[in-house]
């Protein structure tokens, strides 16, 4: 499996993705974008692409720390804000999050993490109205396929330029765009509690899972063929199950069909309809 090559041409990616942002924002009647800038790599890349597509002055980067967020995250977000000359605001979500968390002393870490992700979504969408921009998403292909995301939380956006790039490809493109190495090289983390890292929580590395997902999804390998290609059977099984179980996070809620024409089934239009 060492011969699975996920190398991308960064200039081609940059051209397609900045064109996408510009086209899909302007044809909706907007010229500006809002991005939740966590201090991590995915949002740094989305922010940089939006700044290149629309001009830094037309991008609002939001830093939305909770009281337990790593101070490093704020610093790294600031590096991106300064480098790509985007507008920025910093809004603590501690008050709104704690107001809900304090209602249940038994609350699990997962529930708290979901509340933080959804509080950030509320601020993001509120600011899109104030800034007259659209929310640019920050989810990559690896986390979308694994369902490693909070539904209606960090997954919420109006358009997502990086959702067809695996995590390792996000790193490649980020390097080409000159995103600071300190952000590219640190361990990916949702930063919902101290010491959390994606790879610890998932139980495998992005390098491994990117390659497996590439075979399963892009190259249409069966799970058995992935095992033959050198992946451990238990790992393949775990990933295949995750993909299937998280399909619900990748679609709008199914509507119970009773009429002759129903949204989602036989009322079919692109969002770009008429533009």
């Amino acid at each position: 499996m060492s011969n699975i090559d996920l190398t991308i041409n960064p200039e081609l990616a940059r051209k397609i993705l900045t064109g996408f942002i510009k086209s899909e924002i302007t044809r909706s009647g907007f010229s500006r974008a809002v991005v939740n800038l966590s201090g991590g790599l995915d949002s740094a890349l989305s922010c940089a692409l939006a700044a290149e597509a629309l001009g830094g002055e037309n991008v609002l980067a939001l830093r939305l720390p909770y009281r337990t967020s790593s101070p490093e995250s704020l610093e790294h977000a600031q590096l991106v804000i300064e480098q790509f000359k985007v507008q920025s605001e910093t809004i603590e979500i501690t008050g709104m999050v704690d107001a809900l968390i304090s209602s249940d002393p038994e609350m699990s870490k997962t529930r708290k993490g979901n509340i933080m992700a959804r509080a950030r979504m509320i601020v993001l969408y509120d600011k899109t109205e104030a800034f007259k921009g659209l929310a640019v998403g920050t989810g990559n292909k690896t986390e979308i396929l694994l369902g490693y995301t909070t539904l209606w939380g960090d997954s919420a956006s109006a358009l997502n330029p990086i959702g067809d790039l695996y995590k390792g490809q996000v790193r490649q493109l980020s390097r080409a765009l000159g995103i600071p190495a300190v952000i590219i090289d640190k361990a990916p983390s949702a930063d919902l509690w101290a010491g959390q890292t994606d790879e610890n929580e998932l139980g495998f590395t992005y390098d491994e899972v990117d390659k497996l997902l590439y075979l399963l999804v892009d190259q249409r390998y069966s799970p058995e063929e992935c095992v033959e290609a050198g992946f451990e059977a238990a790992f393949v099984e775990q990933v295949v199950t995750r993909i299937r179980r998280n399909q619900f996070k990748r679609m709008l809620p199914p509507i119970a069909k009773v009429s002759n024409r129903t949204v989602g089934y036989d009322f079919l239009y692109l969002r770009d309809w008429g533009t």
């Binding site: 064109g19 692109l270 969002r271 008429g274």
Partner: protein, 284 residues
């Protein structure tokens, strides 16, 4: 004889025929000013590509009384044009079609015969397939039109070749995909290889007009090309940007190439027919 051919790789507004028509008329005028004799627009250039349920509301008839075609036919008095549209027949079936307009007349309409309905494509859900592949005469010689998936099957270009077409006009709305470490997208590489192969195999001119822009998350990569009867690339449009790419086709090249390489002369059509009859009969 020389043919100055303009390939218009345009972006379109999805389902807004009047706005797209305006762009056709502006570019036709510009191409004429640049010395072009013929301008070729991409697949579904008057409507946009991913039409889905918009389809029935943007259909047109390629006749003088049609409010869209009346303008295009007027413009064709100045420059020959190939335009892409949704054709609705008298029984209200909808086709992906391209029309060749010249001197105020419709010389030919091709209805797409292969509708991709797999992967990201869903054309068979919304459109009827065309039922003929015919070459047609123009003031520059005999030509043939094929639309995107049509030329992924070897038989339509082959039929046009046997039917006398020396210039093959291909048009697409080809979604860009297959990003790897290559210089261009896989989809661009595939299409260019196929175009070049037909130019080589049929010792003919092969021109390709592909759109640009986005529809939701789909990108279209442009990259218009013309290959000559030797398989040499004589024109290349930019990728991802609107452009008018003009190529001069020296039609005497057909004479020189076919003197060197008489593939058309030696093509054994009776053998093909005999074996096709056998193969098809056996399948029954």
């Amino acid at each position: 004889m020389k043919l100055n051919l303009a390939l218009a790789q345009i972006n379109t507004r999805l389902g807004v025929v009047d706005a797209n028509l305006e762009k056709h008329l502006v570019l036709a005028k510009q191409a004429r000013q640049d010395g072009a004799d013929l301008i070729v627009f991409p697949e579904l250039s008057l409507t946009g590509y991913t039409l889905q349920d918009i389809t029935p509301s943007v259909s047109r008839r390629p006749v003088p009384g049609d409010p869209t075609f009346s303008h295009l036919l007027d413009a064709s008095n100045e420059i020959d044009m190939v335009v892409g549209f949704v054709d609705e027949d008298s029984r209200h079936r909808f086709y992906i079609a391209s029309a060749y307009l010249s001197g105020g007349q419709v010389l030919h309409v091709h209805r797409k015969v292969y509708l991709p309905t797999y992967g990201l494509f869903d054309e068979g859900r919304f459109f009827a397939w065309g039922d003929s592949v015919r070459a047609f005469d123009t003031r520059f010689g005999r030509m043939g039109i094929l639309i995107c998936e049509d030329f992924w099957h070897a038989s339509p270009p082959y039929l046009l070749w046997l039917d006398g077409a020396d210039v093959l006009l291909f048009m697409s709305a080809s979604p860009g995909r297959g990003l790897n470490d290559g210089e261009k997208l896989e989809s661009a590489r595939w299409v260019e290889n196929v175009n070049r192969s037909y130019a080589n195999l049929f010792t003919s001119f092969v021109a390709h007009s592909n759109r640009v822009g986005y529809e939701d998350g789909l990108n279209f990569w442009g990259g218009a090309t013309v290959f000559d009867p030797n398989g040499e690339r004589i024109a290349q449009g930019p990728y991802f940007e609107e452009a008018l790419t003009i190529a001069t086709l020296d039609l005497n090249q057909l004479h020189r190439t076919r003197a060197r390489l008489p593939l058309l002369r030696d093509e054994r059509t009776a053998l093909v027919q005999k074996e096709m009859d056998r193969i098809l009969q056996k399948q029954e």
